[in-house]
Symmetry: C2
Subunit: 306 residues, 2 copies
DNA sequence: ACCATACGATCAGAATATCTGATCGCTCTT
DNA sequence: AAGAGCGATCAGATATTCTGATCGTATGGT
């Protein structure tokens, strides 16, 4: 008799193409996974993976079966989600992914508020860049993600939460030198500091500046905004900084923030989830909670112009 | 962690609304089933069934979850079927339903032929009337059914196999008395013997005779064609007999068969299965096999006219 | 050619999960 | 008030699944 356990293990194996890694992801030892895979093969009477020294290949039949298994596992997840709805909103566990340019600035407040208002909720956080987050979301390893919109995959649905304007961060001493009138031209003349490849923030900044700053690409990617801000403070360049990050990252003595006078470049921060998920009400509740946080926050900490 | 076992048990329970029966159907004892249901409820955090003395009720959440479970189980079945295709046609086990007016006459040959040509196939037979067969087919308890076409449910697909003409069976002594010219009128004057409610044969005969024989409904239903033929032989009435059954059921000394001169009433015998099943090639192979049997059989045993 | 390494298979024993059969307690019927 | 039917519960048996150690093989570097 086929079991869900077998399907779970096999789906992971088909994805990783590696017994050891798959076993890790399933949180069991490699022999345990091997045995279940073998049992599934015996059960179905089909060779699912070809074991060749060093590496393995998923057979064509295996591919198809992995796809079906994935669909089945998805439906089981939705069944559980549906059930969870019946014990009230935002209860049980919710796996939330957040991108690095949001997590540190919003997460503490989110956690405080969630603990206060939804003590039943066990919020599990994963912080990484947008594309792995979306993959994991689609695979069902995450329930929702907090990212910059839009999100492309059609099986996802998103709720915009707030607008996050970009400011220009420059070394304080240099600030008086910046006139608001020709910001864009001026940017083109500076060295633009950006995060490393893969961060959506980098892409957004590049997109905005592509006309203005053709030499931006030579800027090597930094691993964190903190690094970048230290470099700005030391006068090694400028950067585009989301308002959200400003309060935390900016040392007012050493760095000045310049707002765009009109039509500021901005990102939309939103919550995304699988369209097929049965936890819609959880997500809208969580979205509302974050929205409300942000409104208060914006109210108290006004954007700092020069 | 939700298991397929839990879903299987619960789906059965939701259908039977009875722990004991569900346990029987699942081939386990009642405590085993109770425990799995309880575990599923704990897992999902939802009460799935209301236990009230004597009887139980499936909660609304339970209904929805049972429906989802059913869908999931169906997909798992299809996954298995898909896999089975890969080890060649007509291997493994195949659960075939057959109606009583076909089974005794076709099954022996089918079994002989299947054993010869597909020794790998484990054919499990269920014999009952059309409507329970179709229900079980849709639920996935059967893989295919051999019935009179058409079959209505849209999720089923059917393959016509052969035409089975109806003959009139009368007591031998009375036979000379029948002129072919006005068969229909004549039928109206006789007592028509039919199977009990639920047999498609009864409905087909009634449909054909509805103009001719308005008093047919008073004929009490017999449980088997054998009973009916004994009564015909004893001169208690006449019946419409499918050609398929004639060789086996007719004692030529006591019963005569009269063929309709033109446009004989007939039934189409066919094989039906779930459209969603992944075993199409099994079914067409089985259909071909039955077709070929029938062609030979028709060739050797010509319909016996007066 | 030889060693080191990485990978998956295998095995024995331990830990879990699941099942059975007996029994209990409740509710409805008579 | 007694009996029948039903599901829950419990203890012990059984089957499944897991772990940790070990093995054999293929591969790549030297």
């Amino acid at each position: 008799m086929v079991t869900l356990r077998q399907l779970r293990y096999f789906e992971t194996l088909a994805r990783t193409k590696h017994f050891g890694m798959a076993a890790d992801q399933c949180a069991v030892t490699q022999p345990a996974l091997s045995m279940q895979i073998k049992e599934l093969e015996r059960e179905l009477g089909v060779e699912l993976v070809e074991r060749r020294g060093g590496t393995i290949a998923v057979t064509p039949a295996g591919q198809e079966i992995a796809a079906r298994a994935e669909a089945i596992l998805g439906q089981v997840r939705e069944l559980s989600d549906y059930a969870r709805q019946h014990q009230g909103v935002l209860t049980g566990s919710l796996r939330l992914g957040i991108i690095p340019s949001i997590a540190p600035y919003l997460l503490p407040e989110i956690l405080t508020e969630v603990t206060k208002r939804y003590p039943q909720l066990d919020l599990q956080i994963r912080e990484t860049q947008t594309s792995p987050l979306l993959e994991e979301l689609i695979r069902g390893e995450l329930d929702a993600v907090l990212v910059a919109l839009p999100v492309e995959p059609p099986q996802l649905e998103a709720m915009p939460l707030f607008e996050d304007r970009f400011l220009i961060a420059v070394q304080s001493q240099a600030a008086p030198d910046w006139s608001k009138s020709d910001l864009r031209t001026r940017i083109g003349q500076e060295r633009l500091l950006l995060l490393e490849e893969g961060h959506c923030l980098r892409d957004q900044a590049l997109q905005f500046c592509q006309i203005a700053n053709m030499q931006a690409r030579r800027a090597l990617g930094a691993a964190s905004l903190t690094t970048i801000m230290q470099m700005v403070a030391a006068g090694h360049g400028i950067t585009l900084l989301p308002e959200l990050c400003a309060r935390t990252e900016v040392d007012r003595k050493r760095v000045a923030l310049i707002a765009f006078p009109e039509e500021p470049p901005r990102r939309i921060v939103g919550l995304a989830w699988r369209r097929s998920s049965a936890r819609q009400s959880d997500f809208t509740a969580l979205g509302q909670l974050i929205k409300s946080l942000r409104r208060e926050a914006v109210g108290e900490g006004q954007p700092a112009n020069v």
